[in-house]
């Protein structure tokens, strides 16, 4: 049975007020821009979002912030967003800062059925407050919990009708682990290929994690910091 959907509206309609969503991307690279736009249009509120960053003003997850749809944000770095700052300082937005590697592993663990794990990351810092500490071979670790969300929003480069995914360059980032950590995973891609057209050896994410695939068009793929060289 094909997982391909011809419009995002129906799939995103399942996201209700108060839902939790894990979202792929690093900065603006590899973000599911069509899914975010659709969710903005739908206006769903009180969302808990897990994503490495929170977009910028007027793009990416920044659109949902601006629209006051996010109740709680779990991220590792949020420095690029003035709306974020305003909502955080006014107490409108709940924020949990999570070290980037810990966030990645929490998603990987959640998607792999592992409820918690120990890491040295954050020991002796604010991040460790209130968390279980345990010593292994003379070194201190803290316990961090896996993340499973109601929905996962993923951006891939290519997909086939089975939901097998291929990512491109550093647009891969959090997307493959995010895909595993949602109860319902919706993927948008630049290119939909036919059954059998992906070499099984090339597939980054197996279709088992994916419920819906949508082929987007006219990707903006905005660049946050255009840096060029005359030599190269």
């Amino acid at each position: 049975m094909s997982k391909v959907i011809s419009s995002l509206a129906e799939a995103v309609l399942k996201v209700r007020d108060g839902a939790s969503i894990v979202v792929g991307g690093f900065g603006l690279c590899g973000i599911p821009e069509k899914l975010i736009m659709q969710l903005k249009e739908q206006g769903t509120t009180d969302l808990t979002i897990y994503s490495n960053n929170c977009g910028v003003d007027e793009w990416g997850l920044g659109l949902l912030l601006e629209n006051k749809q996010i109740k709680k944000m779990v991220a590792s770095y949020v420095g690029e967003n003035k709306v974020f700052e305003q909502q955080f300082l006014s107490g409108e937005l709940e924020v949990e800062l999570c070290p980037q590697g810990t966030l990645a592993e929490r998603l990987r663990a959640g998607g792999a059925g592992i409820p918690a794990f120990y890491t040295a990351t954050g020991v002796g810092t604010e991040v460790a407050q209130g968390k279980e500490h345990k010593e292994f071979n003379g070194k201190k670790y803290i316990m961090e919990e896996g993340i499973v969300a109601d929905f996962a929003f993923v951006k891939a480069w290519k997909a086939d009708p089975f939901g097998n995914l291929v990512f491109r360059k550093t647009a891969r980032n959090f997307n493959p682990i995010v895909a595993t950590a949602g109860k319902i995973t919706i993927v948008e891609v630049e290119e939909l290929v036919g059954a059998g057209e992906l070499d099984p050896d090339e597939i980054h994410t197996a279709g088992v994690y994916v419920q819906h695939v949508y082929a987007g068009q006219n990707y903006e793929k905005r660049i946050e910091r255009l840096t060029t060289s005359k030599e190269a």
């Binding site: 690279c29 490495n52 770095y77 990351t121 360059k169 959090f174 840096t227 190269a232």
Partner: protein
């Protein structure tokens, strides 16, 4: 670039050895990439999922799907590989990265590092810094020795929230280079033109001097 910064970067690049896998933090450490001599072959790691960062692209070859952890457009070098964020940090936490060079706001005499937030000001987040300081084999911090009010950033103990406790192996400032050992913080080099008296005045932390190893 100021003289002090240039001096810090020139000294920091010497920490990079042929064959290493190195993570350069956002900001001043990123500038080291361009200073690595051609004969020193290293793989630069970017925690968003790239080992083998190349030069910045020519304007005709910019690719929005290819950025570094500072969100700058980059290229790949020969031998580069891509991976997801979980694997990227497995590489970091698992001790497979030889060296991380990070910026600092404060370093204590016991090797604590604070570099991610200033309470009361906007919190940007720690990104990958807390993972890097725990995972990379060697942590080098580069920073100005004093802040803009002339106060020492090399402290007895950090006043800002920590990134990690006793994680720094080497501190490079425009005044000196210190190593952190079982015996404490040890001065290993004075930067050119800096006297011991000047260094002592500018340093809140207590440090050991082994004159035998010091090139004064």
């Amino acid at each position: 670039m100021s003289n002090g910064r240039e001096r810090i970067l020139q000294r920091a690049v010497k920490e990079i050895e042929d064959g290493m896998c190195v993570n350069l933090g956002i900001g001043m450490p990123t500038l080291i990439a361009d200073m690595i001599p051609d004969e020193v072959d290293v793989m630069l790691q970017s925690e968003n999922g790239l080992l083998g960062i190349g030069n910045y692209p020519h304007a005709d070859h910019v690719d929005p799907d290819l950025i570094n952890a500072g969100k700058e457009t980059v290229t790949t070098k020969t031998g580069a590989s891509f991976f997801d964020s979980a694997e990227s940090f497995a590489m970091i936490r698992g001790g497979h990265i030889d060296l991380a060079i990070l910026g600092g706001m404060e370093v204590s005499e016991t090797g604590d590092l604070a570099n991610w937030m200033i309470p009361g000001k906007m919190v940007k987040g720690m990104g990958g810094a807390m993972d890097l300081v725990q995972g990379a084999k060697r942590i080098v911090v580069i920073m100005d020795h004093v802040n803009k009010h002339g106060e020492s950033k090399v402290k007895k103990s950090c006043t800002l929230p920590l990134t990690g406790e006793a994680v720094v192996h080497c501190l490079i400032t425009e005044m000196a280079v210190f190593h952190f050992t079982d015996h404490g913080m040890e001065l290993v080099e004075l930067q050119e033109g800096v006297t011991m008296e000047e260094l002592k005045v500018a340093t809140e932390a207590d440090f050991i001097v082994k004159s035998s190893s010091l090139n004064v």
